[in-house]
């Protein structure tokens, strides 16, 4: 048995403890300097010792003997399931953050590089990119330690399950470890080489950033293969024995949908956390300059999150589609069985995300001269999003008491039942996405007026595209009531998604050239946004973190009493899948723990940075140029 692969399940990205001098934000705007130092020798040693401890434990004959005999062990006081659940979820949160943020950090760095480092705007983007990477850097070691703890818990509490999984996936675990090392070194080079690879070598630096993201994505894909195999195992015969190839096990039904879904969700998560961090700094800022800087950072974080959020439901739909394709029973259990209420809670959370993101954009328009002309639109946009929210949160196929059934006049409400079905919900969410995109478009042009001759035609084409897309979504939604489920699922829903995506592409294809060289009606007054907008950013960060916990419960819960669905049954005392209330309490607890840890490491970073700033004040780098004005899209 390949238990010697213990290190392969360890931390996702980096073996590194906190670099006390490499984060914090009081010197924002300063490019990373050559004074940034790496971790101390002791700090470097700790992760290595962790791996060594794992290897020693697993190599101990007595341990190995016991491992063969025990299927389960109990974690004291709280039980094995809760212990694994909490640690896995917090590890996942950190991992999502450190995988998601670098994706948009490198894009921002690329933008700064293309604009030109000799221009103020280019340098600002470069600073922001570095700031984002700095945030993830502080979270690396925590992610690694949590990954190590999770591995130990799995091996010690669920030894037979671990033996089974490692028996199939051992080579991928070795690959995971190798990728992990490569990615660590690449990110180190990316972060510490910021000054060294500047000027004419900036392109190489950006390429290293891209490479670190590719490696991070590969790590994500490898670890996803283990999780998705548990949901939709492939290569298993009727007796439950694995007879397939490794590639069959990896490339199972839900692997690629989960890959894509997590990749996008990580970007949303990274964006919301970065924006939440900026909001926190904004609220505590002492100077206008600081406020302006964190206002801008929060805006970019939210913009990134919102952009990815708009396509996330499509990826989620694909994942659900594949789960149904793999096993109807599982799909039906997920959507119409004991987990049906979970999707109502999910709808509420996503509704909050859409409402919050739009509200933030509308508040942001208050600091843009010229945006007043779009203010009358907002109430209609709010109406569409609120209606969409209500439709999406309308339940169906839920257990009702006899009294409730009598009150409704049947098992379904005679009127609301039409909104509880999939065709109505798909229509609602597509309209919400269209509306959000429209909000963004208004924000984008808030202080600009096009000067091209074809501006009027372009605008008309854009509005016509919106109207046509909305009509297509509504028409297909209505048609969905009158066709077989298979037609609705395989044709109508993808067509609705296609209409929305096509609309976004066409409108942006017109918008970008139309506003090139546009006349400005005034510069954005960064830092003057209402403070309540920053609470919206915090609301988004908390809500998305909570949503991640909920979706983690859904992904795990649909297996019910199976470790590996239909193959390896959970026969431990924890085999019961808890009700939503209990799950919600655990999710809240993990979310609180996650934010406490995040605040702690950011606070530590702030301590280190204070010393760093003091050093700079005595002959260090000059203070950053203040952010003022700029284009609406920053």
């Amino acid at each position: 048995m390949t238990i010697g692969t213990s290190d392969s399940g360890l931390p996702r990205r980096r073996w590194r403890f906190l670099d006390r001098r490499s984060f914090g934000t009081t010197t924002v705007g300063s490019p990373p300097t050559s004074t940034d130092s790496g971790p101390s020798r002791l700090e470097r040693l700790v992760p290595v010792l962790l791996v060594a401890a794992a290897v020693v434990c697993l190599a101990t004959p007595g341990w190995a003997q016991e491992q063969k005999e025990a299927a389960y062990r109990a974690f004291p006081y709280v039980g094995s399931r809760l212990a694994i659940w909490v640690i896995a979820q917090i590890h996942l949160n950190f991992a999502a953050f450190i995988l998601g943020v670098p994706i948009f950090a490198v894009i921002i760095e690329f933008m700064g590089w293309r604009i030109g480092m000799d221009r103020e705007e280019g340098r600002r983007y470069d600073w922001l990119s570095h700031e984002f990477v700095k945030l993830t850097f502080t979270a690396f070691s925590t992610t690694a330690l949590l990954g190590g703890l999770l591995l130990f818990l799995l091996i010690t509490l669920y030894p037979r399950f671990w033996t089974f999984m490692s028996g199939i996936f051992a080579p991928t675990m070795w690959l995971y470890a190798a990728l992990f090392f490569l990615e660590t070194f690449t990110v180190y080079l990316w972060y510490y080489g910021w000054d060294w690879l500047s000027g004419p070598r900036k392109g190489l630096h950006v390429a290293i950033g891209v490479l670190s993201n590719l490696l991070g994505t590969a790590i994500l894909f490898v670890s996803n293969s283990w999780v998705t195999f548990m949901i939709s195992p492939a290569g298993v015969d009727d007796t439950g024995k694995f007879t397939g190839t490794l590639w069959q096990a990896v490339n199972n039904f839900t692997w690629m949908p989960v890959n894509i879904h997590r990749l996008i969700a990580n970007v949303v998560f990274g964006g919301t956390i970065a924006a939440g961090y900026a909001a926190f700094r904004f609220l505590g800022a002492k100077t206008d300059e600081e406020r302006a800087r964190y206002d801008w950072m929060g805006y970019i974080g939210n913009f990134v999150a919102l952009s990815a959020l708009m396509v996330l439901p499509f990826a989620g739909y694909w994942l659900g589609f594949e789960i149904y394709g793999y096993n109807q029973t599982m799909g039906i259990t997920m959507m119409g069985g004991f987990m049906s209420w979970l999707w109502i809670v999910q709808a509420i959370l996503i509704g909050v995300l859409f409402l919050g993101s739009n509200y933030y954009l509308w508040l942001g328009m208050e600091r843009i001269p010229g945006a007043e002309r779009f203010r009358p639109w907002i109430k209609y946009l709010l109406l569409v999003i609120a209606l969409g929210f209500m439709v999406w949160a309308t339940p169906r196929s839920l257990i009702a008491s006899l009294g409730e059934v009598r009150a409704m006049g049947g098992s379904d409400h005679r009127f609301l039942r039409f909104f509880g079905v999939m065709t109505a919900k798909n229509t609602a969410v597509n309209l919400m996405i269209l509306t959000t995109f429209f909000s963004y478009l208004l924000y984008r042009r808030a202080n600009r007026e096009p000067t091209v001759r074809w501006a009027r035609t372009g605008m008309l084409l854009q509005y016509a595209t919106f109207v046509l897309a909305a009509a297509a979504v509504i028409g297909l939604g209505l048609g969905g009531y009158f066709v077989e489920a298979i037609v609705r699922i395989r044709r109508f829903s993808p067509m609705q998604v296609g209409a929305v995506l096509l609309c976004i592409v066409i409108v942006m294809a017109i918008d970008i050239p139309m506003f090139k060289g546009a006349r400005s009606t005034g510069t954005i007054r960064w830092g003057t946004i209402a403070p309540r907008s920053q609470y919206v950013l915090i609301l988004l960060a908390v809500t998305f973190t909570w949503l991640m916990g909920l979706m983690g419960f859904a992904r795990s819960g649909i297996r019910q009493h199976w470790h590996v669905y239909g193959v390896m049954q959970d026969r431990s005392p924890d085999a019961l899948t808890p009700a939503l209330g209990y799950a919600a309490n655990v999710i809240t607890m993990t979310t609180i723990l996650f934010f406490l840890m995040v605040m702690f490491i950011f606070w530590l970073g702030g301590l280190g940075e204070k010393g760093h700033a003091a050093a700079e004040a005595h002959g260090g780098h000059p203070a950053p140029a203040p952010i003022a004005g700029g284009s609406p899209e920053a």
Binding site: V236, D238, K241, F242, W562, G566, L580, N585, T588
Partner: protein, 280 residues
């Protein structure tokens, strides 16, 4: 005095999370419990008991209500009156045979207008055993028809392993010695029949216990009879709970090994070792 930003932000975040938790706790709380296994082998079960057991499986472990309604349409056909209809669906095929085959090979008779989505319910993840299939078929027959399905109408189903296949072990017991324990020290023979051995009607006939039950069930039943329930038609709490203390570890393994040889034959084959694949 100004409230620090950290306090304000923390209070706000806690309020947000608290509201989500509160809502999730205020809606119906439904748990998903691992299903229990039902054993009716060798029992004197009345049709009424069978139907009652079948309805419970239909609504719970079998997850049939996810797609089927009784008196209302669902993803699958409405099963009201299926007991009467089943005998007419295929000329020459009795209702019982039709229903059993529909459970084990659902694609054999797909009702027009419905997709071919039903799984074989004897396979994981639902994994009904022979007794449970018998009970469900009886319940379906009771929906407008006559309950006449027999256990023998349900073929021996290959119970799929649910231990991941990789965890195969052999029990180090001696079936021959186990037979001696069965008839001697443990005195199982006082209540149970095992092939040609014993004839007492006090407890269920164990002549086919290895064919109808998992090793885990058998082992658990000996050590803690109440944990596995009581076979329908027999009084509860009769089987002693003291075998765990009474038998040595070797005797226990021998006894289990002997019981695992009982696969429906007239006489137990008390030779050779029985291989068992316990579930984790």
């Amino acid at each position: 005095m100004a409230v620090p930003v950290t306090v304000k932000v923390s209070a706000f975040a806690l309020a947000v999370m608290g509201s989500y938790s509160w809502y999730a706790n205020s809606i119906p709380q439904i748990e998903s419990k691992p299903p229990e296994e039902l054993s009716l082998e060798g029992g004197n079960v009345t049709p009424a008991q069978l139907v009652a057991a079948g309805e419970k499986i239909f609504r719970e472990k079998g997850q049939c209500t996810t797609c089927h309604g009784i008196g209302r349409a669902g993803r699958g056909p409405d099963l009201a009156g299926v007991g009467a209809r089943a005998g007419t669906r295929k000329p020459g095929t009795k209702a019982s045979a039709y229903l059993v085959e529909s459970l084990l090979n659902p694609s054999a008779y797909v009702v027009e207008g419905f997709p071919n989505i039903m799984p074989n319910v004897s396979k994981p993840p639902i994994g009904l055993n022979r007794s449970e299939l018998w009970a469900v078929a009886s319940f379906l027959e009771s929906l407008g028809g006559t309950v006449d399905v027999k256990l023998d109408d349900v073929p021996q189903v290959a119970t799929a392993q649910t231990g991941g296949g990789a965890a195969t072990i052999e029990l180090p017991g001696d079936p021959k010695a186990g037979q001696a324990i069965f008839t001697g020290k443990a005195a199982c023979i006082a209540c149970h029949k095992a092939g040609a051995i014993g004839a007492s009607p006090v407890g269920p006939d164990l002549s086919n216990i290895a064919g109808s039950q998992t090793p885990e069930y058998i082992m658990g039943k000996i050590l803690d009879p109440a944990s596995k329930g009581t076979v329908s038609g027999f009084p509860p709490n009769v089987m002693p709970k003291t075998f765990g203390q009474q038998l040595t570890a070797k005797e226990y393994l021998d006894l289990v090994s002997f019981l695992l040889t009982l696969k429906g034959g007239a006489a137990p084959a008390a030779a050779g070792q029985a291989a068992a694949k316990p579930k984790p």
